[in-house]
Amino acid sequence: MTFRNLTLAAMLATAPLCAQAEESIIVQSTTSTANSGLYDYLLPLFTGKTGITVNVVAVGTGQAIKNAANCDGDVLLVHAKPAEEKFVAEGRGTQRTDLMYNDFVVVGPAADPAGIAGSHDIEAALKSIADAGAAFASRGDDSGTHKAEMRLWQAAGVTPDGDWYRPTGSGMGATLNTGIGMGAYVLTDRATWINFGNKQDYQIAVEGDDAMFNQYGVIPVNPARCPAVKVDAGKAFSDWLLSPEGQEAIAGYKIDGQQLFFPNAPKVAN
């Protein structure tokens, strides 16, 4: 390589990578909403209307909240209400609003070693899994789903511990892959499960218990804490999600005719 070529290449490498004229925001969100394909459906509608590009970083709820607390995002959209309320109470977010819900389900192999298939009672089902010593793969990553799972174990009066209990420390889809690989039961949100491509002989074993309700909330990051936050664009996005139009769009996202998320933002007169 000649010197001239090298200089040219160096200039190319250091030149601004993309000059973005239009406005863009970063949304810290969860793997469950991203893996379900919701954003691929919603974001073009919002961007088409406002011209604001929405960049979604999909990580576990724990990491999403941590990233937003570091001011590395404009809007937080996660599903762990106590942690979200703490985030707002600490002054890191301006306001938390219910956005939508779906539910958790327990999926398991056709062989059903704990004999829980068809159950609508999550506490009894978890007890049966623990009693049978049937393998159970947990997220183990401080995500919203993991927090919900820990609440359910506590309600069932079981301390999950032993060879049969296997925390994977990874995202929803990765945990499903791992769990299915070892014939373990897995607690997952329904949206990720419906959209999941590697089901093999797995089926939903437990569903329809009120305790498996999965609420999502939206929080704009507080500009008083994070001066770099794009306040107007972030608020435009969360307002749109909570508006009748955004709520209708959420309800309209379906896979194979099944609705994945159910909007439940409070109706406000404004």
Partner: protein, 236 residues
Amino acid sequence: MQDFGDAFALAFGLVLNPTSDLLEIVGLSLRVSLSACLLSCLIGLPLGALLAVTRFRGRGAVLVLLNALMGLPPVVVGLLVYLALSRAGPLGFLGLLYTPTAMILAQAVLITPIVAALSRQVLEGLNDEYADQFRSLCLTRWQSMAALIRDGRTALVTVALAGFGRAVAEVGAVMIVGGNIDHLTRVMTTAIALETSKGELARALALGIVLMVIALAVNAAVQGLRTRTEAEAAHA
């Protein structure tokens, strides 16, 4: 296992008839990893050459450290760069987190030790051969380094390719500092991780095959370039 057959069919289709999304992802992968490779060569080659021609107290320790840094886990590099570039971090004011530039920086941090350590190894051997000549010509240290890099360029291209290979294949660092954002920071490896997490195993493997094809093409292009320059040098 049905996935293997599906994956190869899908990969074949993608290579012959790439979607615009795939081209965007491939383009970003190449841009990020080639830029990181270039940046690491600009730092690593002179550093390796300097270590090859100098002798000082503690040099052994520096070499051990440099060699150990070749084993830096990408996810640790990602975390370090995240902490530096985060709005809450020392370089947060630059607003670089979740941009391709952040990914280039992370990969450059990852592979600079590889480029420096391997080029030190290559150039030190050459230096042993040339040391007497350098002395008789009374070359300065800088002139010696330049001569070594020039004469060792064939081997150094392989060093650069090793760095590029490591950069384009890693997922841990770019996932953290890039965020795997669609149309902005999604590269081949993070796309593969995403498809795997969606349970789309055949699609993930197909993307992996496409990545291998690209690595092959880059290596073949460099090999072709090298053969040509060597032929030109022989004629000159």
